[in-house]
Symmetry: C2
Subunit: 479 residues, 2 copies
Amino acid sequence: MAKIQNKNDAITSRDVDFAQWYTDVCRKAELMDYSSVKGFIDYLPYGYAIWEQIQVQLDKRFKKNGVENVYLPMIIPTSLFNKEKEHIQGFAPETLVATLGGGETLSDPLIIRPTSEVLFCDLYKNLLSSYRDLPKMYNQWCSVVRWEKTTRPFLRGSEFLWQEGHCLFETEEEARGNALTMLEVYDEVGRDVLAIPFVKGRKTEHEKFAGAVATYTIEALMHDGKALQAGTTHYFGQGFAEAFGIRFLGRNNKLEVPHQTSWGVSTRLIGAVIMVHGDDNGLVLPPAVAPIQVVIVPIRQEAEGIMPTCNQIKEKLVEAGYRVKVDDSDRTPGWKFAQWEMKGVPLRIEIGPRDLQEGKLMITKRVNGEKISLSIDEVVDKVPEILEQIHQDMYAKAKDQLDHSVVDVENLEQLNAALEKGGYARMAFCGEEECELKIKEATKGGTARAIYSEEVPEGTLCPVCGKKATVIVYFAKAY
Amino acid sequence: MAKIQNKNDAITSRDVDFAQWYTDVCRKAELMDYSSVKGFIDYLPYGYAIWEQIQVQLDKRFKKNGVENVYLPMIIPTSLFNKEKEHIQGFAPETLVATLGGGETLSDPLIIRPTSEVLFCDLYKNLLSSYRDLPKMYNQWCSVVRWEKTTRPFLRGSEFLWQEGHCLFETEEEARGNALTMLEVYDEVGRDVLAIPFVKGRKTEHEKFAGAVATYTIEALMHDGKALQAGTTHYFGQGFAEAFGIRFLGRNNKLEVPHQTSWGVSTRLIGAVIMVHGDDNGLVLPPAVAPIQVVIVPIRQEAEGIMPTCNQIKEKLVEAGYRVKVDDSDRTPGWKFAQWEMKGVPLRIEIGPRDLQEGKLMITKRVNGEKISLSIDEVVDKVPEILEQIHQDMYAKAKDQLDHSVVDVENLEQLNAALEKGGYARMAFCGEEECELKIKEATKGGTARAIYSEEVPEGTLCPVCGKKATVIVYFAKAY
């Protein structure tokens, strides 16, 4: 790695203060800025461009699965919001509410959407008439507002960007299948796009979404040993549909109630990318979502032939579909190296006068600093496989960390010790909310992240209440 | 055109009741639905897909011009909003205001963004230090809220989707240039994407944007003879920057105030597409933004070879980058014809058993009902040029209507008569707000849409006040 020699040198080491390191990276890599309202952030071009790449990757997979995009209002009348009880209880404490419109007091105050289940129900109620109209698989890309007390860029904010899919099906089987299919889509985007492996499974009763019958989750492991919930899918049963009066004429010519799902991921994925892959030199971006995949740094750019060669390589790579930048600013090469390492550009190409004479150039991989000398003629052909290899290496490294973090424990003492160390601990328990709360207390915040298995070896007892254990669960401290 | 023989037959004729025709098309083509809050609409898949295509076309042109995408909060603190006086006066009456957050009364109520000038200023204030940081050209895709009393789908709503570009420049010349460049981008998207010609020019003092030094506009002509403002760009001078304390260290090493622009288009463009191109059978979509560009309707789909042939043609066209649907539903061909005409699909392909035997198929253009018999082998090669021809025909037709609508008038009587008939009337006047308001009154709502020329033949007087005329203006009744 290049020696840090610029404004970037103020970055805190990950192992000294991970939270400060995270904030430093968010700011120094110019991903975001704090807005003048506490808890709300400005997504700057470099941060937003990562989100655009994530959107493209998700959106094409949604469409392949038959999902259609829509856009529903950003506000929900309080009267409508109050129709599903568990749901209200889950979100009411963190709502932002508009009470004035056009200078007049609103008789039915408007909640800025924290999520849009009720709006989709209100729409589907009108759209649905027969089983022929099913399935309905709608998704929207938007922002939602949740009035949070403690916020951190990308991880928890009063407003964040996300997608929310809301689907209706004729049968329970199809709906449950959809919740699992979309979980697979998220898992695939983690593996093939973000180079992030997940622990995945159903949430416990205590951790499931307000109003859901079942919630499924993907959970990533951050460098500091904490878990990050990166996406969830929900099977709602017929609860919302009942509450909102959604009916369709079934195959048997009788009115039936559809089965519902929802699923979402958010700009939290940017936080996951930062905390899984980043290092003490800054961001490390997976090639598939890097706004700049290859940066070309000329050495002695005033020397004859250097800039034309840089620009030719760029043009050829852009033609081949890559995102490439030639840094021809008046900074020193060392400053540029540090700058683009901070910004996590996967691949750096350097070309100096001697290289040019020899028809060569130097490539450096951001993920491990590995250098490769290539002939100028072959670089355009080689870049695709090098980027692919970088992706594989990033995934393998993260997978290795995740796998090695998992330990099996049998009681609260062991669990506590494991969670102190960081990572995931698997433990069987009865699955009751009461015991789960006791586990959280005993471990100072350890929570059930996902159910690993619902098949428990015979005779296993809950270490809290001593009753029969019914589930083996991944516990962790989490963001 | 196929005989309307399905649910679509309820569509009102354009010339009987244009407003009702518009609403019918919006609903029957399944572009939108009304939400449960007055003035807010649900964008359904078919309507939203048109917006997605418009976004792609605009976004790539923005990026080519060096614009970067960002995302800023959806809320503006009242205290911040109040910093630019003219701006407040323009928007204050139609704001939606949140006063409760997390169950508590907010000390500084939050305005749901009606536009984001002040947020961009607040951000730029922190980002800008030297002239080297300029220009800054940021854009965001989002929705905005304006508490409107009278609303119509896509044309005027309490919430709409749009893009808003906000840029800072070192000099007035660059900033004015940017306002005109972006106007050209909009004009190009009209011509090359939406097949919509515009009248364009600077807005009069009375019609310009709150807080702007100069506003430029593109105005389309609807089938009913009314104008529709389809997009605007603004040169702000240094007013906002002064109010928000934005400074940079100039080349002369002194603190300077940057020059600012903003520019935006919205889902109103969907309304323009409907009202410029639509006919009594429904939507007519320009190929570049049609969610389905080619629909293939099998005749006697159970007959041998029909479906495989339809699917083969589809696959080849999809491979070539087109958006294609095979309608293999159990409806009759006649129903399908009417359905896809309602939805404005530019090109229909029919294949029946006799066609298949002869190795032929029939193509029908939505825009004019023209039929072309093609051999099955050549269809994939021919579709691109046929779609291009459709685009050209649609543009030529709209351009012809626009050009023929324009008349030159010299006094209020003539103006009134011209605006009664519909279309644009060009008239010279003094340019003062007072006279403009009198013109509006005398013509029962005729407004200055855009300045045609600032060069007025010597001796021309304002028909209202009798003083020297300074501008020739396009007047029209407008949406």
